[in-house]
């Protein structure tokens, strides 16, 4: 089908964009990469009064390094993330995950800000934001604010943004030294949304886990952190028995749904399998004697 009628404005800076959003009183939609918005318009699932195109705002797509963090502009395309040396150096888990987002033509257009704002319950980047304790910077005509990624995702395709706000920047705190990572997902076909995905980071000290992070997606309405599984890993060395306990804690923490693609039972099973793979890889990569990824 074809999109419904709408008005269209090209924002030349963030001020113009948020002013247009404010004028539309929540009836506007932001057009970033358009890889989720355009299908919804073509299906006429949405009828915005106006599209605010942010693609021509200079300086909204960037990857910068500060002392403690990596800052990513909301308009950064998936392909830029996939190939950025700063991301490969500091967040190889993100480089790995973003290569699984859609197909090349989608990664060329799709943006990190768009993916987080759309918040598909099986998408990789929202899970990465939650895994890496991202802080999101949001602007509106009324001012700016920041929100932690863990508080941003409220429900399936529902985030802490009202219709007049624009996500502008994602800040990822750098990982401690000796942090290993793992990511894996199950898809029917490369580039599809995951039936389930898991990612982990393990920070080690003298063969003991001092910090553990486990994030999952596709197993509930929002990406989530498996806090119970994380805390039982801390202070221990990784082995099969500990892995089994972590898997059990993950399966306990999630409430996946049955849909056309997979049953709840299958998703719960996969979440455990993928957690095991992610943790095993993170442990292997985090150990100094086995630094090769």
């Amino acid at each position: 089908m074809k999109p419904p009628e709408f008005d269209y404005i090209v924002a030349t800076d963030c001020d113009t964009a948020v002013a247009a959003l404010a004028r539309a009183g929540g009836e506007a939609k932001i057009l970033a990469g358009g890889q989720s918005l355009m299908p919804m318009l073509n299906f006429r699932l949405l009828h915005p009064s106006i599209l605010v195109d942010i693609n021509r705002i200079p300086g909204l797509g960037f990857i910068d390094e500060t002392r403690d963090s990596i800052r990513i502009g909301a308009l950064t395309r998936h392909f830029q993330l996939e190939t950025a040396s700063l991301i490969a150096r500091h967040f190889p888990v993100l480089s790995c995950a973003v290569a699984h987002v859609g197909h090349l033509a989608i990664r060329n257009r799709g943006t990190i800000g768009g993916s987080l704002s759309h918040a598909d319950p099986a998408a990789e980047l929202p899970m990465m934001a939650v895994l890496l304790d991202a802080t999101l910077r949001i602007v509106s005509a009324a001012g700016s604010r920041t929100v932690a990624a863990r508080d941003f995702f409220l429900d399936a395709m529902t985030v802490d943004l009202n219709g007049t706000e624009l996500l502008t920047e994602i800040v990822l705190p750098k990982l401690p030294a000796q942090t290993g990572w793992g990511f894996d997902e199950i898809v029917r076909r490369h580039g599809d949304f995951a039936l389930a995905a898991a990612a982990a980071t393990l920070t080690l000290s003298a063969n003991e886990i001092v910090q553990a992070r486990i994030a999952l997606t596709g197993v509930g309405p929002t990406p989530l952190r498996a806090a119970d599984a994380e805390s039982l890993l801390v202070g221990r060395g990784f082995d099969e028995n500990l892995c089994r306990r972590a898997i059990a804690a993950v399966r306990e923490a999630i409430s996946p749904e049955t849909d056309l693609h997979a049953s709840a039972d299958l998703r719960r099973h996969l979440a455990g399998v993928l957690t095991s793979r992610a943790l095993t890889a993170a442990w292997r990569r985090g150990r100094p004697d086995k630094s090769a990824a």
């Binding site: 074809k2 999109p3 008005d7 358009g34 073509n42 197909h103 090349l104 989608i106 257009r109």
Partner: protein, 159 residues
């Protein structure tokens, strides 16, 4: 409500100026406004890949872009690759390896492969298959398409 927008788009090296409705899809602009029907429209929601074109050199679904977004940009369609009399290397390879049957998916396959060959080493057939996973061939002729692209990878020439 603003009814039309003036745009100027470079398509296959020529500049086209037009007044378009904001909701006009780039795919429909190419096919209906410019008459460049080489770009095929399948699903109209970014799943089949038939409408893939290059925008400023990067592959993109032309059903997921508005024509107004292409204002000032350079778009390349399958018509830019070659002609029946003078096909480019990738097209020759598709011909030689029987990589098209009904031909509906072919423009999207060619434009996707063009971008893949520029951006990835495509060291294995599995890499090629992953790269093509966003392009559906309902004749299921994937095997020959992979072979055609593999042959071009082997020549090592930049697309």
């Amino acid at each position: 409500m603003k009814k039309t927008c003036e745009i100027a788009v470079t398509v296959n090296g020529a500049v086209y100026e037009a007044a378009v409705e904001p909701r006009l899809l780039l795919a429909d602009f190419l096919r209906h406004t410019l008459g460049l029907t080489g770009t095929h429209v399948g699903c109209e929601h970014g799943v089949c890949g038939a409408c893939t074109v290059l925008v400023d050199g990067d592959s993109a679904r032309s059903c997921l872009m508005l024509a107004v977004q292409a204002d000032g940009r350079s778009v390349e369609t399958v018509e830019s690759l070659g002609s029946i009399g003078q096909m480019n290397e990738l097209q020759e390879s598709f011909h030689a390896h029987h990589a098209l049957q009904c031909g509906f998916c072919t423009p999207g396959m060619l434009m996707t492969a063009t971008d893949l060959l520029r951006k990835y080493p495509l060291a294995t057939d599995d890499d090629i298959r992953k790269g093509l996973s966003g392009n559906l061939c309902r004749c299921t002729g994937y095997e020959h398409i992979v072979k055609a692209i593999r042959a071009v990878v082997k020549t090592g020439k930049k697309q």
